[in-house]
Structure formats: C-alpha cells, structure tokens
C-alpha cells in the first residue's frame, strides 16, 4: 500500500444551497505526479483551495501529511498556484520572490538566481510584474511555488498561457523536481495531452465528485487499442476466441469482452457465429485520454 500524502474521504462543500463538492474521495501517493482533470465548474479549484486551508469543507475527512489537521507550520512545506498567478504588481519579479522568501523565512538568496534561470526569466527579473505577460506571470508563479523545494506542490492550471516550448520546459521541470526532490505534485489542467505525458496518476472530477482515479499504467491499459465485443455469453465467447489462437482476450468491468491484439474482425465474427453465439455489438476502440475523459464525464 503506497504512502499517501493527501487522502480525502467524502469531502463535501456547500455554498448555501449550491453544492460545490459532493462526497469527493481523493488519494494522492507520496512522490507522484497526480493530474486532476475535469470540466469547468467541476470542483477542481474548490478542492485545491480546501487542501490549502483557504476555505473550509463541510463534511468528510481530509488527511495531509498523515494528519487530519492542516497544521499552519505544514503550509511552508507546500508550494502552490491557486486560481491565477497573483503578484504585487508594483514590485519587480525579483522583489516578489524576495518578499515570498522573507515570509517563508527562507534565506538562500542564491536559490532566487537559480529560480530565474530555471523558469527562463533572468532578463525580466528587474521588470515590474505589471509589465509581465500572462506567460511570464505563470513562469514566475511556478518559480515562486518551487522556491523552497516544497514536499508538496499544488498547481491550479499552471501552464495554460504558455507557448508549446514553454509547456515542454515546464513539463521537464516538474518531472525533474519530482524525480530529484521527491516532491509530490498535484496539478490540475485542461491540457490532457500534457497530463498523459507527465502524470503518474489521474483523477477525473465530474459533477462535483471524483468519478475515476487510476494510475497512468491502468489508463494506458484501458485506452489501448482493442476490440469490444458484446455477445449473449461473453464467458463462452472468450474461451472460443482463446481456443482459436487469440491470446489477449479479457473480460473487464461491466462484463465487457475485449480483445487487445490485432485480429481480422471478419474472422472473429465467423468464429463466434460458428459456435452459436449471438453477436450484439462489435466496436473498435482507439481512444486517447481525451476520449476516455469525455466518455467518463458523460457517463458520470
């Protein structure tokens, strides 16, 4: 059983009569990169704010760093970007980071130089943040979040405004931080292709609750190209196909029969019909995370 940095059970949050989170469960293994995906209004930002102690939840339980109370001192072990990269506009990028370091009682000034190099903002460090583009703000926000090499990073859509090169650089940076410092990263994003390339685990939020949590290996299994066959007796159909030399045949959840190897569809139909099986449906699946996500949120 993997050690969990964050564990939430039946977390519920209401704003008056409006339910923002509905019995949400979440488990984030230590040292992993966890991608949180969901449509707009699904509850991602609300969940992240609750994890940071910015707002209180109404029911359920949350454990962070193996404690059900987010001790105020533990906040210094967490780096974050919430909602939007907010800064003190009248200060320069460097001044913003220095103030942040002061609040954290973090005294290594060389680290600030290192951060500007890491996020590729060295040429803009002495410019006021009000002159920064959104992409520059996001880079600076990422830099600020990782300044003190936190144990946990909570990032709310940190790469949305970056260009493709910037996205690739940040992806590599997150992977490096995760690998070298062992930092657990919880990242919410709409860029599903990036989640596929970066995350070890994903959690899909739909309609205020977690509909699916799985490792990336499990996701790859599910989204692997396969043939889904629906017959009147899937158990018999599996045996018949295996006997005819097709090896990679599985019966998965909801009694679905799936074939994970390249086969001649016509031949498969012939084999099943010869064995008196009635075929109700044959469907070739070739789905990406995006397809899986949309299918999952639609089915709920």
């Amino acid at each position: 059983m993997k050690e969990l940095v964050i564990q939430g059970k039946a977390v519920t949050k209401n704003y008056g009569s409006f339910r923002a989170l509905d019995s949400l469960d979440i488990s984030i293994p230590k040292g992993s990169i966890y991608g949180l995906i969901g449509l707009n209004g699904a509850g991602k930002s609300t969940l992240l704010k609750i994890l940071l102690g910015l707002i209180k939840y109404d029911h359920g339980e949350i454990r962070i760093f193996d404690s059900d109370k987010l001790d105020i001192k533990k906040l210094n072990k967490i780096g974050s970007i919430i909602e939007y990269p907010y800064f003190y506009e009248h200060l320069t990028g460097e001044e913003n980071l220095c103030i942040h370091a002061d609040f954290l009682q973090f005294t290594d000034k060389n680290r600030i130089n290192e951060i500007f190099d890491l996020v590729d903002l060295s040429s803009a460090r002495h410019k006021r943040v009000r002159e920064y583009s959104l992409g520059m703000r996001q880079r600076l926000a990422i830099g600020r979040a990782i300044l003190q090499k936190p144990e946990l990073l909570i990032l709310d859509e940190p790469i949305n405004a970056l260009d493709p090169e910037g996205i690739k650089e940040m992806r590599e940076l997150f992977k490096t931080i995760n690998r070298e410092y062992g930092t657990t990263i919880l990242i919410s994003s709409h860029i599903l292709s990036e989640m596929e390339m970066m995350a070890d685990y994903i959690g899909i939020i739909s309609d205020k609750h977690m509909v699916k949590e799985m490792s990336m290996d499990e996701l790859k299994e599910v989204t692997k190209k396969h043939l889904r066959i629906e017959t009147d007796d899937n158990g018999k159909a599996k045996k018949v196909l295996e006997n005819s030399g097709i090896r990679n045949v599985k019966i998965e959840e909801k009694n679905e029969l799936k074939v994970y190897e390249e086969i001649d569809v016509t031949e498969a139909i012939r084999i099943l019909l010869d064995n008196n099986l009635r075929i109700q449906e044959i469907y070739e699946n070739n789905c990406s995370l995006e397809d899986y996500f949309l299918d999952t949120v639609t089915r709920g």
Partner: protein
C-alpha cells in the same frame, strides 16, 4: 515569525519610506493652514495660544485620519482586490497575525506622520510668535504642555479610529466602504474634540472609544479574517 519581523516585511513590501513624500506635502499645507488660523482665532480670543494649538493639532489629526484611509486602501484593501491575500494565507503564519502586522504598519505610518507634522507646525508657531508676536498673549510654557497633551490625545484618537476602517475593509473589501467609515470616524473624532476642552475628560472619551473600536476589530474583524468566504 515575530510580529516585528512581519511588520518589517510589510514595510518593505509596501515601500513605506515613500510616504515621507506625503508627509512633506501635508506638513507644508498644514503649516500654511496654521498660519491662516492664527488670524481667525485672534479675532475671537484675547489670549489665543491654547485655541490655536487645539485648532492646529485637531486639523493635523483630521488630515491624517483621511490620509490613513488611503494607506488602508494600499496596504490592506489591495491585498483583497488583487487577490494576493490568497497567497498570504498559504504561508505558515496565523492569519490574524498577518493582518495585525498590516494594521500595525498602518498605525505607524499615520502616527509617525502625525507626530512629525505636529512638531513642524508647533515649531512654526514658536517661530511666528518670537519673530512677529502675532499670537495674542504669546505662547507660554503652559501652552507647550497643552500642545503635548493635544498630541498625545490625538495619537490615541487616531489609533482608536483606525480600528473602524480596518475592520470595515476586512469585512467589505471595497474602497467606498473604507471612505465612508473614515468619514464616520472623523465625525466622531470632531464631535469629541470640538465640544470638550478638559484633557482628562477628552482622554477618557478617546480611551473608551479606542476600547470599543478595538473590540469591534477583534470580534468582527477576527471572524472575517478566519473565513475568507464571508
């Protein structure tokens, strides 16, 4: 982290040294107004030292009450408006301590400015009295003690007053609410200072005022500091 260190960080973040420029401008204006008030007070008083000092120190307090509302907008309200308060509350520092550090900085800026201007204006009065003898009855040693008492009471009044707009800012997070609460605080201050000449009675009134406003801050403000959603 100690409150002192928090105040230091807030001082640096808000570039509080730049307020000295405002002090200079306000002092120049208030020296001029002090000069003008000498003639008005002289018309009604045979011995006008205390009346001029009371008017001068009251006017200075009025200016700094309004000025401190602007400081509250910059130091506190902007954190809510620019949403940097979300960042502040993710630090491992109790929220009430963070906000109290801001309040302390605001008090410091208002009180230091007020004191500097009071000293400059009183020095100006002494200069005027020595060189032109404009003040009816001249300035006496007793007037100096009266001036010290006025400054002390005005400082107490400003600190007491500041709890109101700061609490309103924490609750409402709007510029207009800060302005309105500042005006209400100013009216209360003016009511007391204009009707009472006895320093002991004034002190009691302003002390009671400060206790009530401090309770308002700790009870109401405290609730809104801990709950961002309200």
């Amino acid at each position: 982290m100690s409150l002192f260190n928090l105040i230091k960080i807030e001082f640096k973040k808000n570039k509080a040294m730049s307020y000295f420029g405002s002090y200079i401008v306000m002092t120049i204006i208030l020296v001029f107004l002090t000069w003008t008030s000498i003639f008005g007070v002289n018309q009604d008083h045979e011995t006008s030292g205390f009346a001029i000092i009371k008017m001068m120190s009251g006017l200075i307090a009025d200016f700094y009450i309004i000025f401190s509302a602007l400081v509250i907008m910059k130091v506190l309200n902007d954190e809510y408006v620019q949403r940097t308060i979300l960042l502040m509350f993710t630090y491992g520092i109790p929220r009430k301590k963070i906000i109290f550090a801001k309040f302390s900085l605001i008090v410091m800026i208002a009180v230091v400015g007020q004191l500097l201007t009071q000293i400059c204006c009183f020095a100006f009065l002494i200069g005027v009295d020595r060189h032109s003898g404009l003040i009816n009855g001249g300035l006496t040693q007793e007037n100096t003690i009266q001036w010290i008492c006025c400054v002390a009471i005005n400082t107490l009044a400003i600190i007491g007053y500041l709890f109101i707009p700061v609490t309103v800012c924490i609750k409402k997070k709007t510029t207009s609410s800060i302005v309105v609460s500042a005006m209400i605080g100013l009216l209360i201050y003016q009511m007391i200072i204009s009707q009472i000449d006895n320093f002991i009675v004034m002190t009691i009134y302003y002390l009671a005022f400060a206790m009530v406003t401090a309770a308002f801050y700790f009870v109401v403000g405290g609730r809104y500091i801990e709950n961002l959603e309200l």
